[in-house]
Point group: C2
Amino acid sequence: GYVSQGAMAIQSREFKMLLPFALVAAGLLFLGSRGYLRWEGPAFLFGAACSALAGFIGMRVATQSNSRTTTAAMKGLNEALQVSFAGGSVMGLSVMGLALIGSTVVFLLCIFAFGSDAFSIESISLPILSGFALGASCIALFSRVGGGIFTKAADVGADLVGKIEAGIPEDDPRNPATIADNVGDNVGDVAGMGADLYESFIGSLVGAMILGMAVSGLADETRILLALLPMFLAGVGILASMLGMKFVKVKPGSSPQRALNFGSFVAGGLMAILAFPICIITLKGQDLGGHFTASGLGICTAIGLAVGTAIGLITEYFTGTNRRPVEAIVKACETGPATTLITGMGIGMVSTCLPVLAMCICVLVCYFVAGLYGVAIATIGMQLTLAIQLAVDAFGPIADNAGGLAEMAEFPPEVRKVTDQLDAVGNTTAAIGKGFAVGSAALTAVILFSAFKEAAGINHIEITNPKVLVGMLMGGMIPYLFSSMLMMAVGRAAFTMIEEVRRQFRTIPGLLQDKAEPDYARCVDISTTAALKEMLMPGMLAVFTPIAVGFLGGIEMLLGTLVGITTSGVALAIFMSNAGGAWDNAKKMIEARTSNGKGSDAHKAAVVGDTVGDPFKDTAGPSLNILIKLVCIMSVVIAPMLRAYWGN
Amino acid sequence: GYVSQGAMAIQSREFKMLLPFALVAAGLLFLGSRGYLRWEGPAFLFGAACSALAGFIGMRVATQSNSRTTTAAMKGLNEALQVSFAGGSVMGLSVMGLALIGSTVVFLLCIFAFGSDAFSIESISLPILSGFALGASCIALFSRVGGGIFTKAADVGADLVGKIEAGIPEDDPRNPATIADNVGDNVGDVAGMGADLYESFIGSLVGAMILGMAVSGLADETRILLALLPMFLAGVGILASMLGMKFVKVKPGSSPQRALNFGSFVAGGLMAILAFPICIITLKGQDLGGHFTASGLGICTAIGLAVGTAIGLITEYFTGTNRRPVEAIVKACETGPATTLITGMGIGMVSTCLPVLAMCICVLVCYFVAGLYGVAIATIGMQLTLAIQLAVDAFGPIADNAGGLAEMAEFPPEVRKVTDQLDAVGNTTAAIGKGFAVGSAALTAVILFSAFKEAAGINHIEITNPKVLVGMLMGGMIPYLFSSMLMMAVGRAAFTMIEEVRRQFRTIPGLLQDKAEPDYARCVDISTTAALKEMLMPGMLAVFTPIAVGFLGGIEMLLGTLVGITTSGVALAIFMSNAGGAWDNAKKMIEARTSNGKGSDAHKAAVVGDTVGDPFKDTAGPSLNILIKLVCIMSVVIAPMLRAYWGN
């Protein structure tokens, strides 16, 4: 009860705070534009509303599933998995459905309102669709950043004082920050991630639609079909995901990880096969002007699916328990926190290599097969099984929360054991989900660069142009500035939380003896206030960078900045997410072993690594994905204004 | 004795190992090229030899100055400063002199051998000068990387076992790794840095000469003068530095930092004033074709000096003791190692912002004032006072070593106090030097992009070309891969060192009771072997990346990779150097305070931060500068071959 109330409270406060911001932004878009561009404003609001709704549904489902999971965990592992996974599934399906319905509605309204103008060369629907995507991105950024700060402030605060200073177990009801911690899991990991992946999907859908309409020399009808193809693929993707979900069942003696993987592979394999007929049927009888063939687009879809899976498997290797990288960290824990950190960072850094190479191969091959539109289709392909991905992702925090509830409600220890098993799987699936998110962010950015250039009306931008280079240097620095803001925000918020928990332990008589109840609400309130206050600066950095660079430095410099942010941000995001995931699982491995486990010096070193990794993997890393996409979509949206301002 | 012998031994082993490599590389350049391009081979060897000589001189001077500094420290602070600074000065002057003489010799030989062909549009001297710069870069990279691994393996090993496990003070003669640690200071911090800054200076000199000769539509004589202008400026820069060195004197009651800053400011201010007459006199009566004016070039020189100083001051702010950032880390140390690390990384990340902006402003303004050649002149300007910068830099490790010697020779504690005071100043000057190095690396890279494009014979490279974008994504990842190799190498080498020190403590009877002598030579040998073995992989990565990308992916992809490495590498290098410097000084601040100082929990947290920061600031961070320049120069050198291969 406390948790779902708290989660709803923070989310409604967040949306209340963002509402005037969204209205002002939409108003500016409406007033600052002329003619049909004015529709960007309403589209922005609609996108923002859909994004908020996606987060809201996910959270509502998650907060209700967790207590049911706790109850189901009393019956057994498969029962608990079913309940928690069903919660995740509802979220995954609704997020993907909302994205699909939202963008279809916007696109059809454009065609309805403007007739054939909607997809002429000076395409009307382009800026309007971008406005819709921008609305989704802005809400997603604030949800992710706010949620990330909220959850880690509570988590770090609860752990440092509760576990280390007072020596009480995790999620003990005597710890005042424990409710805030559980609320945080829902706000940050469920709602934040839902909004994130929703935004990612919208971004690639809109990017692919824009590029489909921009293929030169084709008939209007063909271009509409190219714009609709991503939606058809996504529609079938939802069905494939639903089928895959049916296969998620743990047989006795088998691991939940295997069940989840099996479901994902079924959905992915099905999509890879179905992609060809979908592409061929959709484009049957159309003259594609020699740009690409329908089956070439099918190949791109399959490549996207394969590369996404590859990135997921690579991520699983670098962050999974009982794999060499995490075992290296476990070994380094023996020589103290310093070697733990050096090794973890080394592993996080080296783990950037293969995912980036996989993305590069994907771009090169798909470009070769079907041009820029092929790259866009591969980006869609990577996210076709998003519904089941998200279900797999969201089930982790639900299981984590269920464990927390079991601890707080003082259920028998077997229950906690079941939820712990699910939680450990959730760590790896979360890391895989982040791999997907960063992969799709990079590809989406690549296709949005061209969309931006087109919208800004510039044909050639020379890479050695000093303005472009300056933009890139600046862009390379921005992910660091953004991450540092988030890390410092978590540090500050955790510090306030630590003070409050210490104060309650000191001043509430009988609290540690379980005779008095702690003031949970104060801790939730501290996290909420901190999240709302601290998310403003990084949010503003993301929103205003394109505007400032575009109007002060020019279109070339802005494109350079976008490329710089992507180049440096993708590597930094993978580094942070994987280092954090690896530290977390190294700690889990040490806790699971019988000798030299919990309480040993090695465990203490691992806890330090995990605590440093928390803001890495749950706040800064995933927020970078949204940063990358947001600055790109923002630039596409302001491109017509920049064009008018600089007089191209 | 031990230290200087050890240092010489490792350096000669390093050079012996690199000699066949250099001969093979020169042979390949000679055999793989046709016509005048064959001269790249000898030029490469000459550059490599000069670079090795620069490191060698620096080390010889440093290892002799440190014992003299120890003796001088018995007389007082100013005397110790004078001796250690004199050692640094010899090194600074010889490095800068060697760079100047080397490139002048190559340039004059080109003119002598080829007459006016040397500076025709298809400029002969361009590839030959690049070959010379490449030789310098390769040796510098291996010195920096090898030195960095050597010194940190010894340092981490000596500290973790000696200070923490056995509880004996730093630099205690009973610690077997102590000689290796002191040798490391010389190999890594003096010779490595000398080769680094030498290479940086050569890179910008050659870049500026190439761009001077490439200015279109000018008379041959004018273009030669433009190529020589950087050398005239550098020559006067040496004189200005010498004058500045005279002003380095500590008055009683004043701080050594102030004395060093005063000397640097005198040299810088003098140069800023002298730049104008030098430019005007050199280019008097020449027709500059409206590209720029002589006084415009003077302005660029002054801007370069100013921006370099600004980056230095910003670095000093973020890493200096008693400044807000380091104080924030000190405060975070109270709540343990996790918050220490989060705060330090946050500060390192935020510290990338202003230096990058300063570089951006420098590029934009100088390009506006005098085109690309203006940017090149600003890069030279930034390094005109290199001799005194390097003297200031090198004096730190000399003082550090002197302190080590004092401890080992069991001198009175006042001596150690004097050297400690100098050492703390040295930490900040080292961070400032790294700021300069990364600034000049970024600017050098910017001018080499154009030189590469010209040499490869491509006029226009579109930024949204997928090959370019793929190159950039890949390039953005390479600094992480490179850094992870270095961090892991330090981790592995330190691990072997820890085992050896533990073994000696265990097996040599009476060692801890000061009755037996440890086996210093084994520890030096372990560090040497590790450094030589571990420097190969990252070195090869740097050398072969341009070759592999250029021949497999094409010229566009290679340029993208160069830009990506620079974009992501500059930010990563600043982040690592500054985070490491800040942690080091936070530890120093805690050690200096009277209560809650050495041995407290806060101190232990600070030691963890410092140990993590060691490979950040002394191995990975500074090596990234060389990586950036090396891949650029390498690409310029192979550009004619790529041109022939791809048939442009």
